[in-house]
Amino acid sequence: MPDDSTHGGGEHFILDGKALPDLVQSIINAGYWLIGPAVRDGAIIYDEIKSCSDLPRSMTDTQEAGTYRLQQRSDQAWFGFNTCAQSLKPFLYPPTATVCRATREKQGYSITGPTSDTTKMAFLGVRPCDLGAVLIHDRVLADGEYADESYISRRENTLLIAVNCTEAGNTCFCASMEAGPKASQGFDLAMTEIIENDDHYFVVEIGSQKGRSVVSTLSLASATKEQVLQADRRIRPAAEQMGRSLDTSGIRDVLVRNIDNVYWDSVGRRCLSCGNCTLVCPTCFCSTVQDVTDLTGAEAERIRRWDSCFNLEFSHIHGGSVRHSPKARYRQWITHKLAFWHDQFGTSGCVGCGRCITWCPVGIDITAEAHAIREHDLQAAPVKEKTEV
């Protein structure tokens, strides 16, 4: 994905907590549709931000396997939440999109592609895990032999303002996946929110020219070395606070050599095949196509929709579905995410956001299942230290 972002080590500025509305205004004035964290229906999700009053100030969330609750914070943090319930995926890779349209003519029919989406979108408060997921989607949808053109046009018009994590939730494990808690690349701006006593400010790191031009109108003071270090000191505990961890050492080979492991039966019995995990996963990209016609039969449309490898239809070929058992579908999902993704795209498909754990109705935990396969590894070295999960 072409962009002008630098990879770490950028310039740092200080944005006063009270000046956040100025930043918001500056982004909106630059012609962006601003998306950021907002409370909707009892959860914090990314949604339209018209002013700072839309942000979830003094709000946070507690997450555990199968549960999510909003909570009040004791401080005035603008970005005191862990992860939004949904990632940026619905904006950059919409759940439904027109693939093409066919129109009947005197002889036969003509087929036209979709018009490209050139809406300028700015995302404020992007968690490093979600930023990492966008970079993974860039590889999947934009950098391959074939590309999703509408994704590319959306990405070219995207401004990404990350907010580093200074706290972590119980289902978080981005530190294991090296996706956080600090944003290291791919952002236009990365902010760290610092509250101490009566001071409330952001250390803002410039990641790209696009990011620089957004803050250039705000005449921000440069951050001192001490302030930059202070930001890093605030981020570090988040890595230790994470409620989950995933041992990624050799994980690809462990999963691939255990495709026949009887342990999959155990998770197959618990999994409902509902597909929640794939819907909230920021990197799951599988889609299907649906055909619709108008009542006269003169117009037909092909629509791409998010699909899930947990659907029985997903692997249907003549004669039946290839992956008919829930265990095979769960195995497909986790082996794709943690193993085969490496073969396909040179990276893990997991950023450790923990959403699949939180939103699984029966609380299946990807870190626990990966650990269990390791425990039941048919070819494991005989003496092996158990790693706590």
Binding site: V99, C100, A102, R104, Q107, G108, Y109, S110, I111, T112, G113, V140, L141, G144, E145, Y146, A147, D148, E149, V256, I259, D260, F285, C286, S287, T288, V289, D291, V292, T293, G297, A300, R302, R304, D307, C309, F314, S315, H316, I317, H318, G319, V322, R323, H324, S325, A328, R331, Q332, T335, H336, A339, F340, H342, D343, Q344
Partner: protein
């Protein structure tokens, strides 16, 4: 005529509108068996036709009904008409069956990896097909016959359910009449008109004429047939790097973006459908991959 292959896949790149089918006009429809038919298409915008390699496939679009992957079954050296043989199994193929000459079909492609016809030069070739799999094998045979002097012995081993299901019957009969080609056909169940082999395809392998130390096998058919055919070929002495199989998985996009056709770490649409068997041997006998 010099018959060279055009490597079309490498040239596609970031094709504009990769998901948009291009209208093609049906020139001819032929009913092959009770559930298969062959259509001949000409591109509304590209009269020179579509260059493809044997083993590749297209996505065929039926107005308002949907799109399906179908192997190209014509002669790669005769590109004016695009030829597809389709078996009627679902809503899209049912919508395609009712179309007549003059009607329009949307086409995207060609996609996927080809049969290793160039690698097989100088070798004996064993073609193994089951059912509609013959449609995917036929372009390879056309190519081999057009370049007959580059190859050793060529055997086509074909199996189908009943004599009435035999595809391209008159063509098979004329191929059987050639001295430079061995054709052996078997059916699962015979009838009173049938005097040929009864049994499964792998059974034809031990008696086919080829040198196992130099032969290349290409096969397309149900996975169970391919599994036992691989076993039979290996028993004859073929190594797995000389065995090629064409895999089938659900496909929606054909360009590696929809995720449906994943086979372990491979996308059948762009890393396949033709795979060297030794590249998938670890997965091939596993269930529900």
């Amino acid at each position: 005529m010099e018959n060279t292959l055009n490597n079309t896949t490498a040239q596609q790149g970031h094709a504009v509108g990769a998901m948009v089918p291009r209208p093609h006009v049906i020139k001819r429809v032929r009913r092959d068996t009770k559930d298969t038919f062959t259509i001949e298409l000409v591109g509304a915008e590209n009269p020179t036709g579509m260059f493809f390699s044997p083993g590749q496939f297209n996505m065929l679009y039926a107005f308002g009904a949907g799109e399906i992957p179908v192997s190209i079954s014509g002669d790669p050296t005769k590109t004016k008409r695009l030829i597809h043989t389709v078996r009627v199994v679902g809503p899209v193929t049912r919508a395609l069956r009712v179309l007549k000459a003059g009607d329009t079909i949307g086409v995207r492609g060609p996609y996927g990896t080809p049969w290793p016809v160039e690698k097989a030069e100088g070798s004996d070739v064993v073609l193994v097909a089951g059912g509609i799999g013959l449609a995917a094998i036929r372009p390879a045979l056309y190519y081999l016959l057009a370049n007959r002097n580059k190859y050793g012995k060529i055997a086509l081993l074909y199996g189908t359910r009943t004599p009435a299901d035999i595809l391209y019957r008159s063509e098979l009969e004329s191929w059987r009449g050639r001295f430079d080609l061995e054709v052996d056909v078997t059916v699962d169940r015979g009838d009173s008109s049938w005097w040929g082999n009864v049994g499964v395809v792998p059974m034809l392998i031990p008696r086919a004429q080829f040198d196992p130390l130099s032969a290349v096998a290409m096969m397309c058919g149900p996975e169970i047939m391919m599994r036992f055919s691989v076993m039979a070929l290996r028993k004859q002495g073929l190594t797995t790097d000389n065995i090629y199989v064409s895999m089938e998985r659900n496909m929606k996009c054909a360009i590696g973006l929809c995720g449906h056709c994943q086979y372990g770490g491979r996308f059948v649409c762009k890393d396949g459908p033709v795979f060297a068997f030794d590249s998938i041997v670890d997965l091939f006998n596993k269930r529900e991959i």
